[in-house]
């Protein structure tokens, strides 16, 4: 690795002050599972690495007035072990479980997964299907936006050089919303997704129809995307196999998969259709099995 300086930020304020001073000459180090890999092969390293991995105020998973707050330093393992996540968002446990392996999940953070912003990120789809909001902070203040606006392109987010992703919030209205995450990779461990899909939906218990279905697709477009046409079509439709299959077909049409050495675009399209229908079926099954009565 080429030489670089490291400055430890003990809290968010210190980190933001350093980012304000160094801008594009600095890089943030949280879990390090992406950053250190990049730096090892990089021709140019940043002037300074701002180590936020011990900034306690950026850590944590808790319920706030807005919903479930996932701090920037919450690792995939912390997400998997969190009683709150297990209770309200088991699909997020499944998603974090498919990231890397134990060692990388113990280091890598969910927020870092979003910031690295590869199209195949496993952390993205479930959060998108749950309409997560992200808090972007700089020394000038902070702003919140839907996660969908945070992604700009492959390895590109809306973050400016002096900004950082401070936390992720799953809004209160979606606490306990039936959600499923499915990933298709070439191996069970240490594999990037060929396609990953998350679907969330309430089921109107009286009429047995989908309410506010949300479908998110990974690895099939420049960023993780919502399948908005499929969602709009499915809203209010009965929770039948035929309807879920049609939603899958529509979702496949909205994606822009590429052919690469892992799979062809056509194969990925087929996967989207199958996985979307399956994820919807799993979410619907959770809804029927759950004790929560839906009044929406």
């Amino acid at each position: 690795m080429k030489a670089f300086d490291v400055v430890v930020a003990k809290n968010a304020r210190e980190a933001l002050a350093l980012l304000a001073a160094y801008g594009a000459r600095a890089k943030l180090l949280a879990g390090g599972t992406d950053l250190l890999v990049d730096l090892k092969s990089a021709a140019h390293v940043p002037e300074v690495v701002v180590d936020i991995s011990r900034a306690a105020d950026l850590d944590g998973l808790e319920l706030t007035e807005q919903g479930l707050r996932i701090g920037a330093l919450a690792t995939h393992s912390a997400v998997m072990k969190s009683p709150l996540v297990r209770q309200y968002f088991p699909a997020l446990v499944d998603a974090s479980h498919t990231v890397g392996a134990v060692q990388t999940r113990n280091l890598g953070t969910l927020a870092g997964n979003l910031v690295t912003c590869v199209p195949s990120m496993d952390g993205g789809p479930t959060l998108l299907a749950l309409e997560a909001i992200v808090t972007v902070a700089s020394s000038a203040g902070q702003r919140q936006m839907p996660l969908s606006e945070f992604f700009v392109g492959p390895r590109k987010t809306i973050l400016k050089p002096d900004e950082m992703l401070a936390d992720i919030v799953i809004p209160k209205k979606n606490l306990g919303k039936p959600t499923a995450f499915l990933k298709f990779g070439l191996r069970k461990g240490q594999a990037l997704a060929l396609v990953n899909v998350a679907a969330s939906a309430w089921i109107d218990s009286r009429r047995q129809v989908f309410v506010e279905p949300r479908i998110a697709l990974g690895a099939v477009a420049p960023t993780v995307i919502r399948a908005l046409k499929a969602e709009a079509w499915l809203d209010g439709k009965p929770a039948t196999t035929a309807a879920m299959s049609e939603a899958g077909r529509l979702a496949a049409g909205e994606a822009k998969p590429i052919s690469d050495f892992r799979a062809s675009a056509g194969y990925r399209r087929d996967l989207i259709q199958v996985l979307t229908a399956r994820a919807l079926a799993q979410a619907a099954a959770q809804s029927t099995a759950g004790s929560k009565e839906t009044t929406k």
Binding site: K2, V6, G32, L36, V37, L39, K40, V49, S77, T104
Partner: protein
């Protein structure tokens, strides 16, 4: 250069390192603990697995400074002068290693698993070893060895049963 102090295998150790030094490099080159191996150096192979504050991590993906003030356990911290750790014993009895390069990492992953889950299923063992690549064994004997340790611990006996496939 900065000074780092951490507990390594129960002993407080201090070193002066360049900021970009990884924990793995510190362990191997300054503390002469060469059990953790430099394999892929990007967090795929798990040969560098050590435990930091009780959690299995890739030592190649942590800066040495990030381990400052923390508790690091490497393969060298398992055996005592006259006795192997039960996992090491079981791996020997089962002939669970061939070339052995992945061994220290595998055993540290297995220890982290058993510390958290004393009675893992085969699926849970496979999951715990997913980040440790072994190109020799096919993993079957490793899984059997780990199961043996779990069983003998849960039976309250320190002695390992002889595996069925060894005469």
């Amino acid at each position: 250069m900065s000074s780092v102090t951490m507990k390594v295998n129960g002993e407080t150790r201090t070193a002066t390192v360049a900021p970009e030094t990884t924990l793995l490099k510190l362990l191997r080159e300054q503390f002469n603990l060469t059990g953790a191996k430099l394999g892929c150096d990007v967090g795929d192979c798990g040969a560098c697995t050590v435990m930091v504050d009780g959690q299995a991590v890739n030592a190649c993906l942590m800066l040495a400074d990030q381990a400052s003030g923390r508790d690091v356990l490497t393969i060298e911290g398992l055996a005592t002068r006259d006795r192997l750790h039960p996992l090491q014993q079981a791996f020997e009895v089962h002939a669970a290693l061939q070339c052995g390069f992945c061994g220290p990492g595998v055993i540290m992953s297995a220890k982290a698993l058993l510390d958290e889950n004393p009675d893992p299923s085969v699926q849970e063992i496979n999951d715990a070893l997913a980040g440790n690549l072994c190109r020799c064994t096919g993993y079957t004997k490793m899984v059997a060895a780990i199961q043996d340790v779990a069983r003998s611990r849960n039976a309250g006996s320190a002695k390992l049963p002889a595996p069925r496939n060894v005469r």
